[in-house]
């Protein structure tokens, strides 16, 4: 009979985050795989770290969930000590510290995005290996390779929140079309000073493009 699959669950993924004036838009697909089997087709890869800070997870599901839990705890403690909402840069640095120190044991590619009072909407990417860099738009996961051209050609600074949402949805739909490890639904979230708006685009409502 088929051997009990004991390979780790991976979020081979497409994740994306875009800054706009006043906040950020983040998006992800919803597929978690164990080998060739889709273990969860409705995964939520957009994980809250704090009230206005989220992270998009790609790589090993177990590793990224554990890192996100640890950083949430550290950031929450820091915020209580400070008596102030934490900075996105702080959250990003906490992720970087953990991902860099344990870089040999972990398989995690994380995009940290959120809003804070000092610098507004920010996107920081912490890929595998533990680098940290701020980018106005960032993509990650196995599906990201297929959409770098789309991102580079279609991105312009000064987009509104709605334009960013449409841009993210289009990019994710294109990646899910081409990457076998990405699929399911598109989960989107817009984080601004006033709060959080989450939405889901179901499989049959995804934007369509030319298919051969």
């Amino acid at each position: 009979w088929a051997p009990l699959s004991s390979s780790p669950h991976t979020n081979s993924t497409t994740i994306m985050a875009v800054e706009f004036d006043g906040g950020v838009v983040i998006g992800a697909d919803s597929r978690t795989t164990t080998g060739a089997y889709i273990a969860n087709r409705v995964t939520d890869k957009l994980t809250p770290i704090h009230d206005r800070i989220f992270c998009c997870r790609s790589g090993s599901a177990a590793d990224t969930q554990a890192i996100a839990d640890a950083v949430s705890y550290q950031l929450g403690f820091h915020s209580i000590e400070l008596d102030e909402p934490p900075l996105v840069q702080t959250a990003a640095n906490l992720f970087k510290q953990m991902c860099y120190r344990y870089r040999e044991e972990l398989m995690a590619g994380i995009i940290v995005a959120g809003w804070d009072k000092r610098r507004g909407g920010q996107v920081y990417t912490v890929p595998m290996g533990g680098m940290l860099v701020r980018q106005p738009v960032s993509v990650g996961g196995s599906g990201s390779s297929y959409i770098y051209g789309f991102i580079d050609s279609k991105y312009k600074s000064g987009m509104t929140k709605e334009e960013c949402l449409r841009f993210t949805a289009d990019a994710l739909a294109l990646a899910m079309e081409r990457d076998g490890s990405s699929g399911g639904v598109v989960r989107l979230a817009a984080i601004t000073e006033s709060g959080l708006e989450r939405s889901v685009i179901l499989g049959n409502q995804l934007p369509t493009f030319f298919s051969a």
């Binding site: 009979w1 009990l4 969930q65």
Partner: protein
Amino acid sequence: MALSHVFESPVPGFNFENSTRNLLLEDALGEGKSNAPKPLKTGTTIAGVVCKDGVVLGADTRATSSEVVADKMCAKIHYIAPNIYCCGAGTAADTEKTTELLSSNLTIFSMNSGRNPRVVMAANILQNMLFRYHGAIGANLILGGVDCTGSHIYRVGPYGSMDKVPYLAMGSGDLAAMGVLEDRFKPRMEQEEAKTLVRDAIRAGIMSDLGSGNNIDICVITSKGVDYIRPYQESEYKDNRQKKYKYKPGTTPVLCEKVVRLELELVHETVQKMETS
């Protein structure tokens, strides 16, 4: 006890020294000479479904040791708390001990805090522990229960990943069971419909997977209580024993009987009073 920090050195408990010893022995004895006994795996089908007022968990009852059925009536639905049960697939010892550890931790927590444990707490404790062992504990678990926040099902993988979904199947028969669940699952089903669905999903696993078989156990958890039906459905392929294997008294003839008294001498006697208040 719920851990307050994530990265700490492992406490005494599970000890994997024997795995290194087994590897050394296998190398020393040479190829094909002698293998370490294979761990008992429950090649399994387990499933769980969230229904209108609660949660329905189901499992087959076959435990295999390589190709031999080691236990035909194995219990794969483990007690965690009065309102939380857990189905386990993977290495039988690991699922058994992990769920026992979880159950005792949650009991202590209940006594200390005066609260009933929540399903999400059980899932988090499991996740933290399994992540610490980096997949060495081969436990694939479906946690299901009803608490003050509602009815939930969680899946916890051996590497420490957690998923929250309305319906779930795991084990070697999960592909077949998942097919049935994907076809007929509807949100907020009635309890009887959910029991039939889970039974059919397990049955699909039993029919299509060699590692699953024998009877089907069902556990229904609602806010009013737990109905652990074991077995919910017996296998239609049961064999009848041809003979009885008990021997009548007197089958072995007694030839002679000799009684020898052992002479014991009382050398020293002390009495210690126990402090009782």
